[in-house]
Protein backbone atom coordinates (compact mmCIF):
# COMPACT_ATOMS: atom_id res chain seq x y z
CA UNK A 1 0.00 0.00 0.00
CA UNK A 2 1.11 3.51 -0.72
CA UNK A 3 -0.29 6.69 0.75
CA UNK A 4 -0.13 9.98 -1.10
CA UNK A 5 -1.52 12.94 0.83
CA UNK A 6 -2.62 15.83 -1.35
CA UNK A 7 -4.95 18.76 -0.93
CA UNK A 8 -8.07 19.65 -2.92
CA UNK A 9 -10.03 22.82 -2.19
CA UNK A 10 -8.33 23.02 1.19
CA UNK A 11 -9.22 19.44 2.14
CA UNK A 12 -6.59 16.77 2.75
CA UNK A 13 -7.00 13.79 0.45
CA UNK A 14 -5.52 10.42 1.37
CA UNK A 15 -4.77 8.71 -1.92
CA UNK A 16 -4.38 5.00 -1.18
CA UNK A 17 -3.08 2.45 -3.64
CA UNK A 18 -2.48 -1.30 -3.44
CA UNK A 19 -3.56 -3.66 -0.66
CA UNK A 20 -4.80 -2.34 2.68
CA UNK A 21 -4.28 -5.32 4.94
CA UNK A 22 -2.93 -6.41 8.31
CA UNK A 23 0.57 -5.56 7.13
CA UNK A 24 -0.12 -2.09 5.80
CA UNK A 25 -3.01 -0.84 7.93
CA UNK A 26 -0.80 0.19 10.91
CA UNK A 27 0.86 2.74 8.62
CA UNK A 28 -2.53 3.98 7.45
CA UNK A 29 -3.72 4.19 11.05
CA UNK A 30 -0.68 6.24 12.06
CA UNK A 31 -1.07 8.72 9.19
CA UNK A 32 -4.85 8.93 9.41
CA UNK A 33 -5.07 9.42 13.17
CA UNK A 34 -2.34 12.02 12.98
CA UNK A 35 -4.48 14.10 10.61
CA UNK A 36 -7.70 13.33 12.49
CA UNK A 37 -6.02 14.80 15.57
CA UNK A 38 -5.66 18.12 13.77
CA UNK A 39 -9.45 18.39 13.83
CA UNK A 40 -9.95 19.35 10.21
CA UNK A 41 -13.63 19.69 9.26
CA UNK A 42 -13.26 17.09 6.50
CA UNK A 43 -10.88 14.39 5.31
CA UNK A 44 -11.16 12.42 2.09
CA UNK A 45 -9.84 8.94 1.45
CA UNK A 46 -9.43 8.14 -2.21
CA UNK A 47 -9.95 4.42 -2.89
CA UNK A 48 -9.69 4.48 -6.66
CA UNK A 49 -6.33 2.68 -6.69
CA UNK A 50 -7.05 0.28 -3.82
CA UNK A 51 -6.96 -3.34 -4.91
CA UNK A 52 -7.88 -5.02 -1.62
CA UNK A 53 -9.00 -4.28 1.92
CA UNK A 54 -9.38 -6.61 4.88
CA UNK A 55 -11.01 -6.23 8.30
CA UNK A 56 -7.94 -4.52 9.77
CA UNK A 57 -8.13 -1.85 7.08
CA UNK A 58 -11.83 -1.38 7.71
CA UNK A 59 -11.21 -1.19 11.46
CA UNK A 60 -8.72 1.60 10.81
CA UNK A 61 -11.30 3.52 8.80
CA UNK A 62 -13.92 3.08 11.53
CA UNK A 63 -11.41 4.39 14.04
CA UNK A 64 -10.72 7.39 11.81
CA UNK A 65 -14.44 8.02 11.36
CA UNK A 66 -15.03 7.95 15.10
CA UNK A 67 -12.16 10.37 15.60
CA UNK A 68 -13.56 12.79 13.02
CA UNK A 69 -17.07 12.53 14.45
CA UNK A 70 -15.77 13.32 17.92
CA UNK A 71 -15.08 16.89 16.83
CA UNK A 72 -17.93 17.17 14.35
CA UNK A 73 -15.76 16.50 11.30
CA UNK A 74 -16.52 14.36 8.25
CA UNK A 75 -14.57 11.45 6.81
CA UNK A 76 -15.58 10.70 3.24
CA UNK A 77 -14.59 7.72 1.12
CA UNK A 78 -14.15 8.31 -2.56
CA UNK A 79 -14.21 6.05 -5.61
CA UNK A 80 -14.44 2.67 -3.88
CA UNK A 81 -14.13 -0.13 -6.48
CA UNK A 82 -17.23 -2.31 -6.82
CA UNK A 83 -15.68 -5.45 -5.33
CA UNK A 84 -14.67 -3.48 -2.25
CA UNK A 85 -18.02 -1.70 -1.92
CA UNK A 86 -19.51 -5.16 -1.46
CA UNK A 87 -17.43 -5.61 1.71
CA UNK A 88 -18.74 -2.31 3.07
CA UNK A 89 -22.34 -3.21 2.32
CA UNK A 90 -22.02 -6.68 3.86
CA UNK A 91 -20.56 -5.04 6.99
CA UNK A 92 -23.41 -2.49 6.99
CA UNK A 93 -20.75 0.21 6.87
CA UNK A 94 -22.08 1.68 3.65
CA UNK A 95 -24.76 3.23 5.87
CA UNK A 96 -22.20 4.67 8.24
CA UNK A 97 -19.60 6.10 5.89
CA UNK A 98 -20.22 8.90 3.45
CA UNK A 99 -19.25 7.18 0.18
CA UNK A 100 -18.77 9.38 -2.88
CA UNK A 101 -18.30 8.46 -6.51
CA UNK A 102 -16.09 11.34 -7.54
CA UNK A 103 -14.02 14.08 -6.03
CA UNK A 104 -16.65 16.63 -7.01
CA UNK A 105 -19.38 14.60 -5.28
CA UNK A 106 -17.40 14.78 -2.07
CA UNK A 107 -17.79 18.55 -2.00
CA UNK A 108 -21.54 18.49 -2.57
CA UNK A 109 -23.66 18.52 0.54
Amino acid sequence: MKIAITEHKGVKVFGLSGDVDMYSSPELRKELLSLVGKKAPMLLIDFREVSYIDSSGIATLVEGLRGMMSHGGKLKLLGIPERIVEIFSFSKLDKVFDICGTLDDAFKG
Partner: protein, 141 residues
Protein backbone atom coordinates in the same frame (compact mmCIF):
# COMPACT_ATOMS: atom_id res chain seq x y z
CA UNK B 1 -1.63 -28.06 -2.71
CA UNK B 2 0.21 -26.86 0.39
CA UNK B 3 1.58 -23.42 1.15
CA UNK B 4 3.71 -22.68 4.19
CA UNK B 5 4.35 -19.06 5.10
CA UNK B 6 5.95 -17.30 8.04
CA UNK B 7 3.51 -15.83 10.55
CA UNK B 8 4.47 -12.37 9.38
CA UNK B 9 1.69 -10.13 8.01
CA UNK B 10 3.78 -9.24 4.98
CA UNK B 11 3.34 -12.82 3.74
CA UNK B 12 -0.45 -12.69 3.83
CA UNK B 13 -0.38 -11.41 0.25
CA UNK B 14 1.17 -14.77 -0.76
CA UNK B 15 -1.73 -16.66 0.81
CA UNK B 16 -4.22 -14.35 -0.90
CA UNK B 17 -2.58 -14.83 -4.27
CA UNK B 18 -2.50 -18.62 -4.01
CA UNK B 19 -6.06 -18.77 -2.73
CA UNK B 20 -7.36 -16.63 -5.59
CA UNK B 21 -5.45 -18.68 -8.15
CA UNK B 22 -6.84 -21.92 -6.72
CA UNK B 23 -10.35 -20.54 -7.04
CA UNK B 24 -9.79 -19.31 -10.58
CA UNK B 25 -8.15 -22.58 -11.66
CA UNK B 26 -11.20 -24.49 -10.47
CA UNK B 27 -13.64 -22.25 -12.28
CA UNK B 28 -15.13 -20.33 -9.38
CA UNK B 29 -16.84 -17.05 -10.22
CA UNK B 30 -15.09 -13.75 -9.65
CA UNK B 31 -17.25 -12.80 -6.66
CA UNK B 32 -16.74 -16.18 -5.03
CA UNK B 33 -12.99 -15.95 -5.57
CA UNK B 34 -12.97 -12.53 -3.90
CA UNK B 35 -14.88 -13.86 -0.90
CA UNK B 36 -12.67 -16.92 -0.52
CA UNK B 37 -9.51 -14.81 -0.83
CA UNK B 38 -10.71 -12.47 1.90
CA UNK B 39 -11.90 -15.28 4.16
CA UNK B 40 -8.64 -17.26 4.02
CA UNK B 41 -6.65 -14.06 4.53
CA UNK B 42 -8.73 -13.24 7.61
CA UNK B 43 -8.28 -16.75 9.01
CA UNK B 44 -4.49 -16.51 8.62
CA UNK B 45 -4.50 -13.00 10.12
CA UNK B 46 -6.31 -14.45 13.13
CA UNK B 47 -3.57 -17.06 13.49
CA UNK B 48 -0.96 -14.30 13.60
CA UNK B 49 -2.99 -12.18 15.98
CA UNK B 50 -4.39 -14.74 18.39
CA UNK B 51 -2.53 -18.05 18.07
CA UNK B 52 0.93 -16.49 17.72
CA UNK B 53 0.19 -13.19 19.48
CA UNK B 54 2.05 -11.31 16.76
CA UNK B 55 5.17 -13.49 16.79
CA UNK B 56 6.36 -13.35 13.17
CA UNK B 57 8.85 -16.23 13.50
CA UNK B 58 6.32 -19.08 13.44
CA UNK B 59 4.72 -20.87 10.54
CA UNK B 60 1.28 -21.11 9.04
CA UNK B 61 0.47 -24.09 6.84
CA UNK B 62 -2.40 -23.73 4.38
CA UNK B 63 -3.70 -26.81 2.55
CA UNK B 64 -6.17 -26.74 -0.32
CA UNK B 65 -8.39 -29.65 -1.38
CA UNK B 66 -10.67 -28.92 -4.28
CA UNK B 67 -13.03 -31.25 -6.08
CA UNK B 68 -16.24 -30.65 -8.02
CA UNK B 69 -18.25 -30.63 -4.79
CA UNK B 70 -16.15 -28.56 -2.40
CA UNK B 71 -13.44 -26.01 -1.93
CA UNK B 72 -11.67 -26.94 1.30
CA UNK B 73 -8.93 -25.04 3.07
CA UNK B 74 -7.16 -26.34 6.18
CA UNK B 75 -5.08 -23.86 8.14
CA UNK B 76 -2.64 -25.13 10.75
CA UNK B 77 -0.52 -23.41 13.34
CA UNK B 78 1.45 -24.39 16.44
CA UNK B 79 0.29 -21.49 18.59
CA UNK B 80 -2.13 -20.91 21.43
CA UNK B 81 -5.27 -23.01 21.22
CA UNK B 82 -8.36 -21.20 20.07
CA UNK B 83 -11.51 -21.50 22.15
CA UNK B 84 -14.08 -22.35 19.48
CA UNK B 85 -16.88 -21.04 21.70
CA UNK B 86 -15.20 -17.66 21.95
CA UNK B 87 -14.65 -17.24 18.22
CA UNK B 88 -17.37 -14.83 17.27
CA UNK B 89 -17.47 -11.41 15.71
CA UNK B 90 -19.22 -8.32 16.86
CA UNK B 91 -22.79 -7.62 15.84
CA UNK B 92 -22.66 -5.99 12.44
CA UNK B 93 -24.92 -3.23 13.71
CA UNK B 94 -22.45 -2.45 16.49
CA UNK B 95 -20.12 -0.20 14.51
CA UNK B 96 -16.70 -0.20 16.09
CA UNK B 97 -13.19 -1.17 15.03
CA UNK B 98 -12.54 -4.93 14.88
CA UNK B 99 -14.68 -8.06 15.02
CA UNK B 100 -15.46 -8.30 11.31
CA UNK B 101 -12.97 -10.93 10.15
CA UNK B 102 -14.93 -13.87 11.50
CA UNK B 103 -18.04 -12.67 9.64
CA UNK B 104 -16.08 -12.60 6.39
CA UNK B 105 -14.98 -16.18 7.01
CA UNK B 106 -18.36 -17.58 8.04
CA UNK B 107 -20.34 -15.96 5.25
CA UNK B 108 -18.06 -17.61 2.72
CA UNK B 109 -17.55 -21.10 4.12
CA UNK B 110 -20.26 -23.60 5.02
CA UNK B 111 -17.99 -25.43 7.46
CA UNK B 112 -15.89 -23.63 10.06
CA UNK B 113 -14.46 -26.10 12.54
CA UNK B 114 -11.41 -26.57 14.67
CA UNK B 115 -10.04 -30.11 14.72
CA UNK B 116 -10.18 -31.16 18.36
CA UNK B 117 -7.74 -34.01 17.66
CA UNK B 118 -4.86 -31.60 17.15
CA UNK B 119 -2.95 -31.55 20.41
CA UNK B 120 -0.61 -28.60 19.85
CA UNK B 121 -1.79 -25.53 18.01
CA UNK B 122 -4.86 -25.31 15.82
CA UNK B 123 -6.17 -26.93 12.69
CA UNK B 124 -9.03 -24.92 11.22
CA UNK B 125 -11.04 -26.59 8.51
CA UNK B 126 -13.02 -24.42 6.13
CA UNK B 127 -15.27 -25.93 3.49
CA UNK B 128 -17.36 -24.24 0.84
CA UNK B 129 -19.73 -26.59 -0.95
CA UNK B 130 -19.84 -25.98 -4.65
CA UNK B 131 -22.97 -27.94 -5.52
CA UNK B 132 -25.26 -24.95 -5.43
CA UNK B 133 -24.72 -22.24 -7.97
CA UNK B 134 -22.30 -19.65 -6.71
CA UNK B 135 -24.36 -16.99 -8.39
CA UNK B 136 -27.44 -18.12 -6.50
CA UNK B 137 -25.54 -18.08 -3.21
CA UNK B 138 -24.08 -14.67 -3.86
CA UNK B 139 -27.50 -13.35 -4.77
CA UNK B 140 -28.86 -14.82 -1.57
CA UNK B 141 -31.46 -16.91 -3.40
Amino acid sequence: MVVTVPSDPQYLCVVREVTAKMGQMHGLGEETVEQIRLAVDEACANVIKYAYRGNADKQIVVRYHVDPERFEVVIEDSGIKADPGAVMGRKLEDVRPGGLGIHFIKRCFDVFEFDARKKIGNRLRLVRYLKESNEDRNNGT
